[in-house]
């Protein structure tokens, strides 16, 4: 080895050691002075810039506003503080380190990102330490014992469970007099699949008929085939649950074939960011938490959206409501647990939630269902690229799926 090589290697080692040493001593957080009210520290591990950023950022921004309101309550018994950690595009090791740093900083409750697969490292660390793990908008039944075993009793999501959402979509379709439906399943996510499965089950319970079933997957370039098959199958409504590039491909594909049959999508299809000018989106329906287009039926929701926009948050879909409702839900659970912050005590209260009022609606959990059901959905229609509330629907049944 030459002299310069040795110095190069030594330099690299010193740089690496310095980086690790700085890491070791330079990242500790501090605590604010105690107040008369009991302080609840929420450790929020979120993705600020990756795939989940469009969901995590609005939920976090809305939660911050809600916390300000709660902390300002004169008769309140607790004050909330949010400590955040960016999981940097949900890298596994960084997400785990985030969870541990938040727990080390004294977090009483851990909040996590809106996808259960990305959330797993964070949830695992939280429940292993006996802390409540909350997701503002995970939409499957996986956030709970089904995914995390016995310790999963401490994991909850304030998103709508896909079974509930699919059921609500079926009820809405039936109420519109749509007696037959084609379904198209995007097989990428459990959420997508469960929404369509629940729709089919509930729609048939109501007396509807599924005429044709198609499937496609994000990234597989096969949505066009599904569209072609659906176009040749006559039904009153085409139902899917999808997002990403497949959403405009699905809708525009059908419209380009001069098929103007109504399309019904889940919360995945919320927003107008994906619409195109040629063809314009028409006769397209979706269910969501809240309308972000200025016409939500609930005045308090409209005010929250205005506050969010004033705070500079981008509110693209109604999913922000999960952040507010999660804070409300946790607050109610703490009060019902007489101020306890113990994970098990709080979880025992959450599973008893039945039609508990939160911003915009009422929500429920059960011992086996740790993701929200029973929320009242807003049904929006996009016509000529403009979205408008056209109805409300609450699922009466949460179908059981295999």
């Amino acid at each position: 080895m030459t002299r310069t090589t040795r110095w190069g290697a030594l330099g690299a080692l010193l740089a690496g050691a310095a980086a690790l040493a700085v890491l070791a001593v330079g990242t500790s957080g501090g605590f604010a002075a105690p107040t008369a009210k009991k302080k609840v520290i929420i450790g929020w591990a979120f993705d600020s810039s990756g795939n989940m950023a469009p969901f995590d950022n609005p939920a976090l921004a809305a939660a911050r506003i809600r916390i300000k309101q709660i902390n300002a309550e004169k008769n309140g018994t607790v004050t909330f503080e949010i400590k955040t950690c960016d999981t940097q595009q949900n890298d596994g090791a960084k997400a785990k380190a985030c969870a541990l740093s938040l727990l080390d900083a004294g977090a009483n409750i851990i909040f996590t990102t809106c996808d259960v697969d990305y959330a797993t490292p964070v949830v695992t660390e939280a429940i292993n330490r006996g802390k409540l793990a909350i997701a503002p908008c995970i939409g499957t039944d996986q956030m709970g014992p089904k995914r995390f075993g016995a310790k999963g009793k401490l994991a909850f999501s304030f998103g709508n469970v896909a079974q509930d959402e699919g059921s609500a979509m079926a009820q809405y379709a039936w109420s519109r007099g749509w007696k037959t439906a084609n379904t198209a399943t995007n097989t990428l996510l459990v959420y997508f699949k469960n929404v369509v499965q629940a729709f089919e089950k509930r729609f048939k319970q109501l007396g509807g008929k599924i005429v044709s079933r198609e499937s496609y997957a994000t990234g597989q370039s096969n949505v066009g085939t599904a569209v072609t098959h659906l176009n040749s199958s006559k039904a009153a409504v085409n139902v899917t649950s999808t997002a990403f590039g497949e959403l405009p491909a699905f809708v525009n594909g059908l419209r380009s074939l001069h098929n103007n049959t109504p399309i019904l999508n889940s919360w995945a299809g919320d927003g107008t960011y994906w619409t195109t000018n040629n063809p314009k989106v028409t006769n397209y329906y979706f269910v969501t938490y809240a309308s972000v287009f200025g016409d939500d039926p609930d005045k308090a929701v409209r005010k929250m959206i205005a506050d969010l926009k004033k705070a500079g948050a981008q509110v693209g879909t109604g999913g922000f409501l999960g952040g507010v409702d999660a804070i409300d839900g946790v607050y109610i659970a703490i009060k019902r647990a007489h101020g306890s912050l113990n994970g098990t005590a709080l979880a025992n209260q959450l599973v008893k939630f039945k039609h508990v009022p939160v911003l915009g609606s009422r929500i429920s959990f059960s011992p086996t269902q740790h993701t929200v059901f029973g929320r009242q959905y807003r049904v929006l229609k996009i016509q000529d690229n403009k979205a408008k509330v056209v109805g409300k629907v609450t699922a009466k049944v949460v179908p059981k799926l295999p």
Partner: protein, 347 residues
């Protein structure tokens, strides 16, 4: 005698470095410990890649396939039975109804990684140059898609969770040392020397009776075993894994670590893995604000920009990597006779 002393010194550098990092990991907070342990697991992975790529000179994009297979094998087989029956319901009964402990899972991962590498290596090791690179990339794609879609052998597209987190400071350090010791023993063995000879001049090596195909196959298999072992260490560190975590990003990151440190030496593999891991972790923390006498708060997303820029700069200034592709030596303790030049990196 001098040869053995020199060998011991070459091994001493990487071993000492890993032990120091392992000891340091016990002195920091639990959050920061993850970064130290992750760096040690990265050492095991990069050393596994070095065993084949460094010794043969054949670039492979497929070694992370063996990390993936090892990680999922160890993970699936160590999820507790009561949880597995509720969460991984679609597995083959053999996988669903049996569970093994930590050490057996590490051995299983190494065995499966090695066996998989042996089977796919039989046709692949006949290739070289660009064809080998593309073929090993195809292997990565195939492995990724099978693991992502086949729910009879794993969780499919969802996260494998509930894996016991047994990779602490001891296991990570010992795991990295096992990989280093294995790689060192191999490169100094007759097999290793024959393969290195074929790296320098395949035609000349064949002329003196070296079966290049067979030597590459042995190295590929051993590399697969070490990579599977490293995958098991990783899944037992994180407690969960997805197929995307052992795919493109990890492939390019680990190859970058090897090239950054020095492609043709074990010392380079270890230095590269630790230097890039440390830098990556520090820059990640700096994005969230870190105190280094003053508060350094980098913009979100700048981590990868800085990391890539530093790597590019170093490689422009030192194309053969930080170590120059040579093994660790103590200044003044040099073998008599003509000095051995560091071999040129593969084209």
């Amino acid at each position: 005698m001098r040869r053995y002393v020199e060998g011991a010194v070459q091994l001493l550098g990487p071993v000492a470095l890993v032990v120091v990092v392992g000891i340091l990991s016990t002195t920091v907070s639990s959050a920061n410990r993850i970064y130290f342990l992750n760096a040690l697991v990265s050492v095991a992975m990069v050393v596994a890649i070095y065993v084949f790529v460094g010794n043969s000179g054949v670039l492979s994009f497929g070694q992370i396939s063996f990390v993936a297979v090892g990680a999922f094998a160890a993970g699936v087989m160590t999820v507790p039975l009561d949880s597995k029956k509720g969460v991984l319901t679609e597995l083959f009964p053999l996988l669903r109804d049996h569970s093994i402990g930590n050490i057996p899972s590490l051995l299983l991962a190494a065995g499966i990684g090695g066996l998989f590498a042996l089977v796919v290596g039989l046709p692949l090791m006949r290739l070289s140059g660009l064809a080998a690179g593309i073929a090993t990339f195809a292997l990565l794609e195939i492995t990724h898609n099978i693991l992502q879609q086949w729910t009879k052998i794993g969780p499919g597209a969802t996260t494998l969770s509930l894996v016991p987190q047994t990779t602490g400071a001891w296991q990570a350090t010992l795991g990295a040392l096992v990989a280093i010791a294995g790689a060192f023993a191999y490169q100094r063995s007759r097999l290793g020397r024959q393969l290195r000879a074929s790296r320098e001049d395949p035609a000349a090596a064949q002329g003196i009776g070296v079966d290049v195909h067979r030597q590459r196959l042995w190295a590929f298999t051993f590399s697969g075993a070490l990579a599977g072992f490293a995958g098991a260490l990783s899944v037992h560190l994180l407690g969960s894994i997805t197929t995307d975590q052992v795919y493109l990003e990890l492939t390019f990151l680990t190859l970058a670590m090897l090239v950054f440190g020095g492609l043709t030496s074990l010392w380079g593999a270890v230095v590269g893995a630790l230097a890039i891991s440390g830098l990556d972790s520090f820059l990640g923390q700096a994005e969230q604000g870190v105190h280094i006498g003053f508060k350094l708060d980098l913009p979100t997303g700048s981590r990868l920009v800085f990391l890539a820029a530093i790597m590019a700069l170093v490689l422009i200034l030192r194309p053969s990597g930080l170590t120059g592709g040579g093994e660790f030596r103590i200044p003044g303790l040099r073998r008599a006779g003509p000095r051995e030049e560091a071999p040129a990196p593969p084209a």
